[in-house]
């Protein structure tokens, strides 16, 4: 199975990465080499094998429903570190979300 440059572009869009033209070409080539290696998995008969979704046998790891007020100082520190504007109002902020913008995925 070959990966095309177009697919690389699609994946980059999904991952919110802007790639330069060179990167696209480089990644396409490298993808094909890596995937070819990965395809050795196809040698395995995996038909009746259960997927290993978790490493351990742990089940129902639960926490008591007890609310702790959040630490004000901690929140202030987090906000101070944040890169947006209007932190003093207690907000994180981002540039406008453009209505109608469609990312080509």
């Amino acid at each position: 199975m070959n990966v095309s440059k177009k697919e690389v572009e699609h994946v980059a869009a999904l991952a919110r990465l802007a790639l330069s033209e060179e990167e696209k070409i480089l990644y396409t080539d490298q993808f094909n080499v890596i995937l070819e290696y990965i395809h050795r998995l196809n040698e395995l008969n995996l038909e009746n094998i259960d997927p290993m979704t978790h490493v351990q046998q742990l089940r129902n790891v639960l926490r008591k429903d007890i609310a702790k007020g959040s630490e004000k100082e901690l929140v202030v520190r987090i906000l101070e570190e944040s890169p947006g504007k209007e932190k003093e109002k207690g907000f994180f902020s981002v540039p406008p979300v453009i209505e109608g913008f469609e990312m080509e995925e």
Partner: protein
């Protein structure tokens, strides 16, 4: 003649659960606080933070599943749903994908005392809520408040079994009642603790294949759900009648304009790249746990509604309002323990008491008046020693102070005077004091007796039995 198109509706309902803390961290699960105050490294998705699942979330969600007749899965797991949006700090939402908590339930849609449809519930799964984005058009900036981030949700998905916008509304009424009865959620749509999206399509009557569906979002009340769907029925009919094809899309209900409009942006088709959440071990629920949870369920509103009609002879209308909340229905049944006449209790409950609740903007469980109070009052009424006008006053007094009716009646000396001996003295007194009215009566104006009775009532502060005293005046003054 049957209508040319059949309406097919399915709902997706998100319900916030009534827990103390969030789903994966100990931040308070509270609405309406200053922005970014109920947050911590976990719900802000800071690097290195990890989720730990809240046991109350599991219990409430299982309760909801059982109340909706679902099969609770013995094995379920969490998955990550990946997408970028500023209200989602980790850029993935922890949800459940291929192994949801519960599946294959139903809700019996009751109307006018009978089932009009069994609406299948396809699945119920757990997930975390996202934060809130506040757009500032002027400043061209969007602010983010993460307080809601990590609030526990269940998503309930119905099969496309609803056949009209009205049924959708009715479904939500019943769903809300069930969730309130079971204490799963407060279902306040205005605070976003219950949110509903709808899928709707039309198909020629008598056919079975599903038409092309439209998803509608942004409906902020049950009424809006109904109105949005009604609009959509008309819009789709017009397209179909003109020979067109309905576009598969997501539309937004515009409450002000009363229309649905095509929606763009983040709701476009996504590739969510679901995969099992490695930070959370799966859930395995055994029969013991489930039967204990089943045992703890209260009688559900549909059952109670039908039972109230059957056992107490209530009309569908009465049964519906009395079972509209669990506390009210409990109040009704508890009152019957003190005073076993269901019709009278129902009348007083839905009449006088509702009036008082309405004017004081209170719920049945936050007033000092108890079923004992109401039962006692009705007993006194039956004894014939209290007029119904006075009984209403006593009820109000009880409602405000929590004093027992007998106490109030005694304190204020409100017991009705029916004894002829006692009343005759009053009659004499009134006749002496109002000779003009007596003369009027004697001259043939029989209506003047009303004035005299009024005076007698006044003098006794309403305690005189009006029938008895009218008779006494007539006897004394001659017919």
């Amino acid at each position: 003649m049957s209508p040319e198109y059949e309406v097919v509706i399915g709902l997706e309902v998100h319900v916030e659960l009534l827990t103390e803390s969030k789903i994966f961290c100990s931040c308070p699960n509270r609405f309406g606080e200053a922005p970014n105050t109920n947050v911590c490294p976990v719900c802000l998705g800071l690097p290195g933070s990890l989720p730990v699942f809240n046991e109350s979330v599991l219990e409430l969600a299982v309760r909801a599943s059982l109340a909706l007749n679902c099969t609770v899965s013995s094995y379920s797991k969490f998955d990550r749903k990946n997408y970028f949006y500023p209200d989602l700090p980790k850029a993935y939402q922890v949800s459940q994908y291929d192994f949801p908590l519960a599946k294959e339930g139903f809700l019996d849609l009751l109307k006018d005392g009978r089932s009009i449809r069994k609406v299948r519930i396809e699945r119920l799964h757990l997930e975390e809520d996202a934060g809130k984005l506040i757009h500032d058009q002027k400043e061209s900036i969007s602010y983010v408040d993460y307080n809601r981030c990590g609030v526990p949700l269940v998503e309930i998905v119905t099969a496309p079994d609803l056949r009209s916008p009205g049924e959708a509304h009715l479904f939500l009424d019943w769903l809300k009642k069930i969730l309130l009865y079971t204490g799963v959620s407060d279902c306040k749509m205005e605070e976003g603790s219950l949110r509903c999206d709808a899928n709707i399509s039309l198909r020629p009557s008598g056919t079975e294949t599903l038409g092309r569906k439209v998803e509608i979002k942004n409906m902020n009340s049950f009424r809006a759900v109904q109105k949005g769907l009604e609009y959509e029925v008309i819009r789709q009919k017009q397209i179909l009648r003109a020979g067109g094809r309905v576009a598969m899309e997501t539309r937004r209900w515009d409450e002000e304009k009363g229309v649905t409009a095509e929606m763009r942006g983040k709701e476009e088709a996504h590739d969510y790249r679901y995969f099992p959440e490695p930070d959370l071990p799966p859930l395995m629920l055994d029969e013991n746990f489930l039967s204990r949870m089943k045992g703890e369920l209260p009688e559900l509103p549909e059952k109670r509604y039908l039972r109230f009609m059957e056992s107490y002879g209530l009309s569908p209308y009465q049964a519906e309002i009395i079972t509209s909340s669990k506390n009210l229905a409990d109040f009704f049944e508890d009152t019957l323990l003190h005073y076993p006449h269901s019709q009278k209790v129902s009348n007083w409950l839905t009449g006088e008491l509702f009036g008082l609740l309405k004017t004081s903007v209170k719920e049945i469980d936050d007033i000092p008046l108890t079923p004992l109070h109401l039962g006692e009052l009705l007993k006194i009424l039956d004894e014939g020693t209290l007029s119904s006008t006075l009984a209403k006053e006593v009820l109000e007094e009880s409602f405000l102070s929590g004093k027992l009716p007998r106490e109030i009646v005694q304190e204020k000396g409100l017991l009705q005077i029916s004894g002829e001996k006692e009343l005759l003295l009053i009659v004499e007194d009134v006749i002496n004091n109002y000779p003009a009215a007596v003369k009027d009566y004697s001259d043939g104006n029989k209506k003047a007796v009303g004035f005299l009775v009024g005076q007698a009532m006044k003098q006794t502060r309403g305690q005189a039995n009006p029938q008895v005293i009218t008779e006494l005046f007539k006897k004394r003054l001659g017919k």
